[in-house]
Amino acid sequence: MFIGITGYNHESSVALVDRNGRLIDYYREESLSRIKGDKSFPKRALSRIIKANNITFDDIERIAFYERPLSSFLYPIKVAAKYLPESLGLLEHQFRNFKKSSVSCFLDLASKFSGLEKKLIYSDHHLSHTLTSLAYSDKHTELCSVVVDGFGDRSTTSISHVIDPLNIKELWSTDYPLSIGLFYSCITDFLGFAINEGEYKVMGLAAFGQPNNKYKKILSKIFYWDSQKKRLFADMDYFSYHISVTDSYSKKLKNLLGEPRNPFRSLFPDDQDFQNYADIAKAAQDITVEILCKIFEHAHSLTSCRRFLFSGGVAMNSASIETLAELNFVDQLIIPPSPGDAGAAIGSAYYAYLKSNISTKILVKPSLFPSKYNIKEEDLKVEKIISKNFTIISEGLEESLEKAAELISQGEVVGTIIKNNETGPRALGNRSLICNGVDHDAVKKLNTVIKKRSPFRPTAPAMKLTTAKKHYKLTSAVMDSYKSMSATCNCLPENESHKFPVTHIDGTARLQIVESCSFLDLLLDKLKPFGIEIVANSSLNVSGDPTCYDLIDGLMVCARTPLKYLITDLGLLEKKITNES
């Protein structure tokens, strides 16, 4: 057995790969701690993976951490040191938080799982990302891997040639602090959203912006791709993330773009400042996409590959994927379902596997639902919670699906806690909120009443491939990515889909093509007699919380929101009406 671990910098997680190269379990720490973006040492996830799979320490051959900890610690310090004395606050913070950095992985492992630290090895940050995406590829040779994130253990962007899984050559990289991910985070912060959490809000807001607006011209001068030198350029005078603990942008950027948005002020399309902020978001989004295109062109020129792996936090920018996939030298673009750091645990587990002495090494394509969950662990525990607050209106999957379909056809929103968890960050049906995707009132209820999301944010549609082909322009290079909601696509011209509530203002949708025999596939079968072919699908959680992991989490969402129905492995539950609710 081989374990991969991520943590300390972004969401922590643990993955388990067996000797046959199969991902057999995976947990994010946030799913278990219930703290969104939990980046602490993943002790719960590791304990759970050991317990749920009934393995002993002796069964674990190697445990791989996803990055080189000292590199990850030293590089930002070295950069900050160049900006002394302005950066003194950041440097002091880094030194005093040494114990919270990834350098502590060995010590944390030794103190909490004594003995396992002897099996600890280290992968390169971007190699972990590459191996994660490689696992999801059907072919494992002659690929080009592009990794773009905020900061890895040395670089922020890299291009590697995957000759085969054991021969992955890095050909080009960009050093910190030049970073597409941190540029995008800086704009996220400027627009009043939380870094590492609000980037997808910027992506949604960008659709409301005017193309080629004044901010595009302004930002293009301080952050761009230097075509001559084939490298990224950023005027660091406008940014502060490399010298400050609290500020990601400098006064100079404020002078350039105007007043940053107060995070507590509303952001509705009719608000006075809305268009201004939408234009800034649009400018940042367009610059990001343009630079990504240049990096892919460079990657192609270096490797001559036509099949690409794309990972790192920036690969979560689903609105950029279609443009990349349509580049004339791209035949296939693979994006793993969890391209950020949390997903890199999968790659680091594969790194441990590849570094083992097993003679024939095969990477088996992982499931989209790898986190093991068994209702039997909870069914007794939840007995009284259910009997007091819910009525079981149907038992058994078949009957529950039929009843759920009926409710959805009547405009209801139904939550799901069914079988294993998704890899994340997108819910693909097993931990979702579902409603009729063409019913405007139902989608509005899901989006604003239950999830309390800003009205400018789109809700994703899920459908079968045949339905998707009728309404949306699919790109063959990213067909696999549609299964994990990793790419957006355009509506077909003059198609009714332009009017669907799950279509964004710019005529795009981040659609999910459901996997055959998955829960959503079965539900769509039951919805067909009602004439419903498209459902809206959003993750089951309350804003600010991680997506639900177990039934108790799902029951809690029902208790805290107006959500009335929850389809579970125990049956379909209906919330009892009380004075409180």
Binding site: D38, S123, N262
Partner: protein
């Protein structure tokens, strides 16, 4: 720079984190419970704490719309700060680290202590305001939780005498006051040692600047060939 509103805003923000921490503690207790009745009790308690968090965040949000952007940014709620701010121990939830008796004693006493903290917040926001009414409701919830914990305690540990419950309460009060005292001392020492920390950071940073990290560049290398034990 903080505005005049900051003391109230800070109190609301910190209270929201404290309530959120309690919600997480109760949810963890619910998941760790081995009896359906206990799980139900903790579930309801967690739900109340989540609702309290929402109430304080709502009060914070209304008031923060008129403060300068820099202040507002610092007040933005970030779930994972519940650990860095100390409302959830980085070593784990109470239920993961305490025996069940001590855990219930903790809940029993801290709910009562929380109620007295809310009395101070009530004065800040004004008892007759809408927010004041919300806080009064929260105080009633806290008293109810305290009552449940007491009931639970006496039911499962009938041999315990009322004086023992008082002892737990005094113990928690002393612990809370000690924590406050330690924090104040740490803040005081921080002021004294700050220049030393800064000097040390400056010197170490100058040293790091001299280190050549370019030798660890990977250009042209097979990444699978890098030694597995290398931390650089």
């Amino acid at each position: 720079m903080r505005s005049d509103h900051s003391p109230t805003l800070n109190v609301l923000s910190e209270t929201a984190y404290a309530e959120y921490g309690s919600a997480l503690e109760m949810l963890a207790a619910c998941k760790a419970a081995n009896k359906p009745t206990h799980a139900y009790g903790y579930f309801e308690h967690a739900k109340d704490e989540y609702n309290h968090t929402g109430a304080f965040l709502s009060m914070l949000s209304t008031r923060s719309q008129i403060v300068p952007c820099n202040t507002a940014r610092q007040l933005r709620f970030n779930s994972s700060s519940v650990i860095t701010k100390g409302y959830v121990d980085s070593e784990g939830y109470l239920i993961e680290n305490l025996n069940i008796k001590d855990f219930i004693a903790f809940v029993y006493t801290n709910e009562l202590l929380a109620k007295s903290s809310f009395e101070k917040i009530l004065k800040l926001v004004g008892p007759s305001s809408i927010d004041g009414e919300t806080i009064s409701g929260i105080m009633r919830d806290e008293l109810r939780h305290h009552g449940f914990a007491e009931e639970h305690f006496l039911h499962y540990y009938p041999a315990l005498q009322p004086w023992q419950l008082r002892f737990y309460r005094i113990r928690e009060t002393i612990k809370n006051k000690s924590r406050k005292l330690i924090r104040q001392n740490v803040e005081f020492l921080e002021k004294i040692f700050k220049p030393l920390y800064s000097l040390m950071s400056y010197l170490v940073a100058r040293l790091v600047l001299a280190v050549n990290l370019d030798v660890f560049k990977r250009d042209g290398k097979n990444l699978l060939d890098i030694p597995t034990k290398s931390i650089l």
